[in-house]
């Protein structure tokens, strides 16, 4: 029997006043998967996550989480790291994690050892007795992450987990997410750090202006989004302009962009319907080249392809301002 999905979103719409934050969204997060949730600022990611967490209620549609009709019924099985997150400044780290653990139903008996183990694991040994305000922002982020997962949740929802982390801590977090996923937990996280998404997730879904524009296993998506782009590097680099001109004149080439002045590599977009292997042969036969390479699509390419620059407006303030009106309006 196939397992129930961890999250099932069916036809969900959420409006804040006039603004439609989430528009007729359908989404399935299979149990045991690790999903990246992408989209420009203001696309509706946080609103969707808040609806999954039963913090907001959809105007239309249904959401089921871990087989229940509302996350409120299974809060203790879910670990949630919100985008707007913080700690009690004057509380000691240990006290804060104990408090959060108890709120999430962790038995008091093993809690203290669990906290010590986790602090060790995220490279924060010895901070237990420190006040949260004494920690650096990155350290606080790690404490917040621990607060979200201290109760061993089946489903982990992380809203922008990488924001504010330096590369070392981002790497640590990615490793932890990998480990948690390997333990069989379902993880869904929203992010702007597309490289992280690509490295960690097995599925991605992207929304833009409240609508889903992409959903599926990452390999399938990358294959589907063949960018039909070659990276071409000339052998001689003295007269790059002449080389570029010759390249552009080839029938299989649509346009050429300079990728990197220093390496002299040229980003070569192929014309519609051209077979990349044919184009590569043609280039090698016609021009003196050091390197011709078929570029693999990245999430970033896909993101840029699907999202117009004007979609990425920072409308968070607007949304949160409208949130009250919406909440008001929907009741």
């Amino acid at each position: 029997m196939p397992q129930d999905p961890a999250i099932l979103i069916e036809g969900v719409t959420k409006r804040f006043g006039e603004k439609v934050a989430v528009d007729n969204l359908d989404l399935v997060v299979p149990t045991g998967s690790i999903c990246g949730f992408l989209g420009p600022n203001g696309a509706g990611k946080t609103t969707t996550i808040r609806m999954v967490m039963s913090i907001f209620h959809p105007d239309q549609g249904n959401i089921s989480v871990l087989g229940k009709s509302s996350a409120a019924e299974s809060k203790r099985r879910i670990g949630y790291l919100p985008e707007e997150r913080g700690v009690y400044r004057t509380m000691k780290v240990g006290e804060f994690l104990t408090f959060m653990g108890k709120l999430k139903g962790v038995p008091a008996s093993g809690l203290s050892k669990k906290i010590d183990d986790w602090l060790e694991r995220v490279a924060l040994p010895g901070v237990r007795k420190k006040r949260c305000e004494e920690l650096s922002k990155g350290m606080q982020q790690k404490v917040q992450f621990l607060a979200a997962i201290i109760h061993d949740p089946e489903l982990i929802i992380l809203d922008e987990p990488f924001s504010g982390l330096d590369p070392m801590n981002a790497l640590l977090l990615r490793t932890l997410m990998d480990d948690l996923h390997a333990e069989g937990r379902t993880i869904i996280f929203s992010t702007h750090v597309l490289s992280s998404a690509e490295q960690v997730c097995d599925r991605i879904f992207m929304i833009n202006k409240g609508r889903k524009v992409l959903d599926g296993p990452i390999d399938g998506i990358l294959a589907r989004f063949d960018p039909r782009t070659l990276t071409v590097e000339p052998l001689e680099t003295e007269d790059l302009d002449a080389f570029t001109e010759s390249l552009t004149r080839l029938p299989s080439v649509e346009r050429v962009n300079t990728l990197n002045r220093r390496s002299r590599a040229l980003e070569t977009h192929l014309a519609e319907g051209v077979d990349p292997s044919h184009a590569m042969r043609e280039i090698v036969a016609t021009l003196p080249v050091r390197r011709v390479e078929l570029r693999k699509a990245t999430i970033e390419d896909i993101f840029v392809n699907l999202v117009a620059p004007e979609d990425s407006e920072d409308v968070r303030a607007l949304v949160s301002e409208g949130a009250g009106q919406l909440e008001a309006a929907d009741a």
Binding site: R50, M53, I55, A72, K75, R76, I78, G79, Y80, L81, P82, E83, E84, R85, G86, V87, Y88, R89, T90, M91, F99, M100, K102, L103, K104, Q144, A147, A148, A317, S320, E321, A323, G324, E327, A328, A329, A331
Partner: protein, 445 residues
């Protein structure tokens, strides 16, 4: 749900187990009491001038010079009496027994060490003597004119700046006493006899009520209701203020949504209100305990209406939940304390009413005004504790019960409205809503 007690416990611990709280709630009143003691102590041997040393000259133009002959003894006797009184009071103060030498020194400083009297001849040149005062040779000069025994007569007392107020008073009184005695004697009576006759009798005032007869203490009865009301107001407001601050802190530190991942907004609000309620209750218990202890110390426990203590508990619950609901609502709607102020304005105006009205209410506890505010839920507990703990006018039982019902109904409505605001407010960042904005949230929530 177990989460509500967990939140309440955290709230209580984070507020009451801090140095600031302990300092504010315990140390501050202790300091106040200490300051009162110190002020009292200083008043006892207040120094209006430096140590007195010098002569007091008396020019007496009366036949037989009765003032010149009797006043010095009288004045010295009075000074001795004052010394005794001061010592007694010093002994009653904490550590007073050890303060003996210090007290003596202070008394000497205040009342003067070596005071000598100089009797001037009847024809002494007063202007010349005044110059001696000016030169510091004399600390005081008393001039008794020949008509000093007339009923509307005055006598002259010139003093140097070195003569303290306490001494001036004793000198003046000593001289006056001698003059009065002389008048009595001239009228053919025995002064000591007359003084005994005109001694003011003291009264044994008893308060008669339905339940019996008790010793009367009007002042205490006047002040008791106000003490109860202030006690209620302070404890309720401290708890409410802490609730406002902790809600704003949770919002501004962005810990709010972290909490909402584990609990519902209603659970969070309930837990917070209960936690800070315990803080308010602790304050009430501490201050009330200190008050009762002090009352026991001064032997006035019998003047405390104990039924009022029970009502104090009931009205604490009523007043606290009313104010806490308002504070939770305002706290959830804003992100900074500064933003809360504009929303607090209308609320504070209503809640300050009892403080402005207590005098009018105490003047006539069963007036229409008192009744109106008894049935206005935000002021019900404060006005009713005033009315119930005064003894002059019994409040009808139906009114006590009816106001209790109305008061708790008001609390229910307020908590219901606050829950609606709280649910929306906790995740709202950016521009805070106006007061009317809050009303819209309630309507829409």
């Amino acid at each position: 749900m177990l989460n509500v007690p967990l939140i309440a416990a955290r709230e209580f611990k984070a507020t009451a187990m801090t140095k600031a709280f302990i300092f504010g709630v315990l140390v501050f009143p202790a300091v106040i009491i200490g300051v009162i003691y110190v002020i009292t102590a200083f008043q006892l041997f207040k120094q209006d001038g430096p140590t007195l040393r010098g002569n007091i000259a008396i020019a007496d133009a009366l036949p037989g010079q009765p003032v010149a002959s009797q006043a010095p003894t009288r004045i010295l006797e009075r000074l001795d009496q004052v010394r005794e009184q001061v010592k007694e009071q010093m002994d009653r103060m904490p550590g007073g027994a050890d303060a003996g030498p210090m007290a003596d020194a202070a008394i000497t400083r205040a009342l003067g060490g070596d005071v000598e009297f100089e009797i001037l001849p009847a024809d002494a040149d007063i202007e010349l003597q005044k110059q001696r005062v000016r030169d510091g040779e004399l600390v005081a000069l008393v001039n008794i004119g020949p008509d000093a025994l007339e009923s509307d007569s005055v006598f002259d007392l010139w003093r140097s700046p070195t003569l303290g107020a306490q001494l001036v008073n004793e000198v003046r009184s000593g001289v006056s006493d001698v003059l009065v005695d002389e008048r009595i004697r001239n009228a053919g009576h025995d002064p000591s006899n007359i003084r005994t006759l005109v001694a003011t009798p003291s009264s044994n005032t008893r308060l008669v009520t339905e339940t019996g007869e008790t010793a009367s203490a009007e002042q205490l009865e006047m002040i008791m209701p106000i003490i109860f009301m202030i006690l209620l107001w302070i404890s309720v407001f401290t708890g409410g203020q802490y609730l406002l601050m902790s809600t704003i802190e949770e919002k501004s530190s962005r810990v709010m949504e972290v909490l909402l991942s584990a609990v519902s907004p209603l659970q969070l609000m309930t837990g917070k209100i209960i936690g800070q309620g315990l803080v308010g209750l602790s304050i009430l218990a501490i201050y009330l305990g200190v008050g009762l202890l002090a009352a026991g110390q001064f032997n006035v426990t019998q003047h405390i209406p104990f039924s009022s203590l029970v009502w104090l508990g009931v009205y604490f619950v009523m007043a606290y939940f009313m104010i806490a609901a308002m504070m939770a609502a305002v706290g959830s709607a804003v992100t900074e304390m500064r933003e809360a102020n504009s929303l607090m304005g209308p609320i504070m105006t209503v809640l300050m009413l009892p403080l402005f009205l207590w005098f009018l209410i105490m003047d006539n506890p069963n007036s229409v005004l008192a009744m109106v505010f008894s049935f206005f839920p935000p002021t019900t507990p404060f006005v009713m504790i005033l009315r119930i703990s005064q003894t002059a006018h019994a409040v009808p039982l139906w009114e006590i019960l009816a106001t209790t019902v109305v008061g708790f109904a008001g609390v229910f409505v307020m908590v219901w409205m606050a829950a609606k605001i709280f649910r929306i407010g906790v995740l709202m960042y950016g521009k805070p809503p106006s007061f009317m904005g809050l009303v819209r949230w309630i309507r829409a929530g």
